[in-house]
């Protein structure tokens, strides 16, 4: 191989890098390395002038490799690849050295951080010489979409896509659409009827020429890759349209036991909108849920409101009602996170109680009042005016609910160690409403495995980037929307659903998708068909060809993680852009 002409660009990142790493010293060190034709530093390499500098140097100084020493490649690799491409250089002739996250941000000692930065640049220079020109490929994009879950998020996403004229398959596990919202009466903070919000959508979905709903159905398998998935769906009796699909009252129930005959669907994208389940209140013994009959959950209260009968099991109107926040949420023992909707829902209950049961006393027992969101603070203020007694309890210092004595004028007594007054307060209650939090569904791990996405420690599906890419996942073509990703209210669920649909419409509009040129390949001449690699791939990118007795990587699915490369005992698998030569060159560079 001829010695390539390498350009090295050291970014100061404003002061982010330069305040710790001596960028000039890095430039001087780079200048002395074999093959380096230009080395320079600039304030912001990612800025337009920074990028233009690279483009100009490639053209004028006849560079054929580029090293950018700056931030993490996760941040700007694509930026610099584009710049290099602009100068008609193959975009994979670029290598980045991360001297920000790996140096200036994590080290205090400037001398040592500079030494490390020089080592990383040396490694990148050594490595880039072995880079091979790679071409990314275009594959056709199937415009159909599979939506999992027919809650408010799934319905919204389905309509968004169908209204744009594209086919949607909506798979709902329960025998009706609407999800958890179908169990809610009025919605906070504007007190619109949940039924109204849903009815129109369900109606349109059921009659839409571009939506095929499957009720009581389940996705059994999903194979393929972005633009080209094949899903198998088990449907009851093989009939998608199902019975009258009005929203149910009893919440999600699993589809009936009718015989299921699978349907095969070709789709280009998948939206997971499988929602949440409520926390099981009986897990907190202090509250007596399941033992004290007038301790109920928020969902049970919603049902009372919908039926227009707010009463105790004895059939009496409650005189004292207590609403208890954060049940299962914000606790070390159960879920550390806040479920986000229950504070406002609790205030909504206070309103509903005051108007349905005039003269009843409502106490609201909370930890902190979380009233973020448009209109929520205002709603809180108005609720405080309707004569609700607010009591604050401490995290993990659970109030205790017990049965009252026969002489008391109430059914139960709640002992609260009140934080603001610092006193132990006992309040009466005939009805206690537990604001149960949201948690990941019991089958979420199964869904994650099925579509190839990950879950966080609480079981919520993980987005590609929590801030910048909240509805995409690490599996291209699979999106998440609504409460399956984390607790959220209706507006946020709807926004995510529309965002996911927009992402998909963008891909459909382009007609084809670019598949990264970095993937693993199996050398057929070297593969022994031992099948060691078959089960290893976290993205199910490896298939075994039984007739040829060889394994093969489906390149569009491969994320070049390298798991199979390391495992193959035949040395038959090679990851493009991560070849042994390149990695060894990098190691030699670091250690030199």
């Amino acid at each position: 191989m001829d010695q390539p002409r390498i350009g090295v660009y050291v970014c100061a990142c404003g002061t982010n890098i330069a305040k710790v790493v001596d960028c000039d010293a890095v430039v001087r060190a780079a200048e002395g390395l074999p093959g380096v034709a230009v080395a320079t530093t600039y304030k912001y390499m990612c800025s337009t002038p920074g990028q233009e500098m690279i483009v100009a140097d490639i053209e004028e100084k006849k560079l054929d490799r580029v090293v950018v020493a700056s931030c993490s490649p996760r941040m700007h690799e694509l930026t610099f690849r584009k710049a290099v491409k602009k100068a008609s250089m193959n975009q994979y002739y670029l290598q980045m050295a991360n001297i920000r996250e790996h140096c200036s941000w994590v080290h205090g000692d400037g001398v040592e951080a500079t030494q490390k930065a020089i080592g990383l640049v040396r490694a990148a220079v050594k490595r880039v010489a072995f880079h091979e020109p790679l071409e990314s490929r275009m594959v056709a994009m199937c415009p159909n979409t599979l939506v999992l879950g027919g809650g408010i998020a799934g319905l919204t996403a389905a309509l968004e896509l169908a209204d744009a004229g594209y086919q949607v398959y909506l798979v709902e596990k329960a025998d009706h659409l609407g999800g958890n919202l179908a169990r809610v009466d009025l919605t906070a903070p504007h007190l619109d009827s949940a039924r109204d919000l849903l009815r129109e959508r369900i109606h349109r979905v059921m009659g839409h020429p571009h939506v095929e709903p499957f009720l009581g159905a389940e996705v059994q398998s999903l194979e393929g890759y972005v633009g080209n998935f094949t899903a198998t769906v088990a449907v009851p009796g093989g009939n998608g349209a199902g019975p009258a699909a009005a929203e149910g009252d009893d919440g999600p129930t699993d589809g009936g036991g009718a015989t299921r005959s699978p349907r095969t669907l070709e789709v280009g994208s998948v939206i997971v909108a499988t929602g949440y389940r409520e926390f099981d209140a009986s897990r907190i013994t202090h509250f007596g849920y399941g033992k004290l009959p007038n301790v109920i959950t928020s969902f049970e209260f919603e049902r009372m409101v919908r039926e227009g009968r707010i009463e105790t099991v004895e059939g009496r109107q409650p005189q004292y009602v207590a609403i208890l926040h954060c049940v299962g949420s914000r606790s070390q023992e159960f879920h550390a996170y806040c479920s986000r909707v229950c504070c406002m829902t609790a205030l909504k209950y206070a309103h509903e109680l005051k108007s349905a049961v005039p003269g009843c006393y409502v106490s609201d027992v909370y930890i902190d009042m979380h009233a973020f969101g448009k209109g929520c603070e205002d709603f809180y203020r108005r609720s405080s005016e309707v004569k609700t007694l607010f009591l604050m309890y401490g995290k993990n210092d659970y109030p205790v609910i017990r049965k009252a004595e026969p002489g008391d004028d109430c059914g139960m007594l709640i002992e609260v160690s009140e934080q603001l007054s610092g006193e132990l307060i006992e309040i009466p209650a005939d009805l206690v409403i537990l604001m149960v939090g949201m948690e990941a569904r019991e089958d979420s791990a199964e869904v994650a495995r099925l579509v190839g996405i990950s879950q966080d420690k609480d079981g919520w599906f993980i987005e590609s980037h929590p801030k910048l890419d909240p509805v995409a996942t690490t599996t291209e073509g699979v999106f998440i929307a609504g409460t399956c990703a984390a607790p959220k209210d209706i507006p946020d669920s709807v926004a995510q659903a529309r965002a996911a649909a927009a992402r998909i419409l963008g891909k459909i509009a382009r007609g084809s998708i670019e598949v990264d040129a970095v993937f693993a390949e199996i050398d057929e001449e070297a593969c022994s068909g031992c099948r060691i690699c078959n089960e290893l791939c976290p993205y199910s990118a490896i298939e075994y060809k039984a007739d040829e007795k060889r394994s093969r990587v489906i390149s569009a699915l491969c994320k070049a993680c390298g798991a199979c490369v390391a495992a193959c005992p035949s040395g038959a698998i090679r990851a493009r852009h991560f070849t042994d030569e390149q990695i060894f060159a990098e190691i030699v560079g670091v250690l030199a």
Binding site: S528, C530, R531, N534, L536, A566, A567, P569
Partner: protein, 321 residues
């Protein structure tokens, strides 16, 4: 190779003699060889002295089949001598190729080996203090023994090797095929592994392969292995995935797991490391304790994975201070 008879030598270094028997195992073919060739040195079968070899002109021999590893100074001396005298030198069998079973001695130092072999061993007279020495004087005479090296070398660590014929021992039909090729004079590129396949043994093994998941390792005697299914999938540690084919998969066919004597696949540097990463990749557990328990079913994994290739591995030997 013209009309003149081939001049050949066969030699054993640190080995067990099995390779020589493998040559004899070619049966009547060996007689054809004898008709075509003058066997100038073959300690196991033909009378001959080192001096005869020393007196040969350089390059006088057409071919030397050298089996056995290099353990001591005598092995090295003869290897160098035969290299000089021979136009082609073939590392014959696993020991010459990669160090072989004698190479496992590299897990111990010379001192530890002497201690176990001569000083502290139930079959040794208690109190023995005699160990082999390179130089001894007896009744005023100075006696010499080959020097025992600190470690075992493979043949190409000490001399340039033209071809490698793997196997412990090499399969008789492969020996025959290689000899035929050499007689024909149409030679493969120097440095080739000959008499073996280019893919892993699983390619040659007729057992049915499914997706591999291992929950428990078992020794071959612990179960009645299914006669059809891959042994590794049944928890029997088979080195087949990390081993070159060419032997005819004789071991797995007779329900014995492959032990790896044909060495690694082309391009693979370290056979044992490859077997390690392959086997541990298919352990079916994510729980650290359970994984430890499963791995406990692999006593002496190093000895197994590097049974024939320790001196050729990245590790080469253990060093104790």
């Amino acid at each position: 190779m013209g009309g003149r008879k081939l001049q050949i030598a066969l030699y054993w270094g640190a080995g067990c003699g099995g390779c020589d028997v493998a040559v004899l195992d070619t049966n009547e073919f060996i007689l054809d060889v004898a008709a075509l060739a003058d066997i100038r040195l073959w300690p196991i079968a033909v009378d001959g002295k080192y001096r005869d070899v020393e007196e040969m002109a350089d390059g006088e021999l057409d071919l030397t089949l050298f089996n056995g590893a290099v353990r001591n100074s005598e092995n090295e001396h003869i290897a160098r001598l035969l290299r000089r005298k021979s136009r082609l030198l073939v590392a014959f069998g696993s020991c010459a190729h990669m160090g072989g079973i004698p190479g496992l001695a590299n897990l111990a130092t010379k001192e530890e080996i002497y201690d176990r072999a001569y000083l502290h061993n139930p079959s040794i007279e208690p109190g023995n203090t005699t160990v082999p020495l390179a130089q001894t004087s007896v009744n005023g005479y100075s006696l010499e023994l080959p020097r025992f090296y600190q470690r075992v070398f493979k043949l190409d660590d000490v001399v340039d090797v033209d071809y490698y014929l793997p196997g412990c021992p090499p399969a008789a039909d492969q020996v025959r095929a290689v000899l035929e090729v050499i007689v024909s004079g149409v030679l493969p590129p120097k440095g080739s592994v000959v008499g073996a396949g280019d893919r892993g043994l699983c390619d040659e093994c007729t057992r049915t392969k499914a997706e591999k998941k291992i929950k428990e390792f078992r020794r071959p005697w612990q179960i009645m292995a299914d006669p059809e299914a891959c042994l590794l999938e049944q928890g029997i540690l088979c080195a087949g995935p990390a081993t070159r084919s060419g032997c005819g998969a004789r071991c797995p066919t007779s329900s014995i797991p492959c032990r790896g004597c044909y060495g690694p696949m082309p391009g693979v540097v370290d056979q044992g490391a490859k077997l390690l990463s392959a086997v541990t990749s298919v352990i079916d557990s994510k729980d650290p304790d359970e994984i430890d328990a499963i791995l406990a079913g692999l006593p002496d994994f190093t000895g197994y994975a590097y049974r024939f290739s320790l001196p050729a591995s990245l590790l080469q030997r253990s060093v104790r201070s």
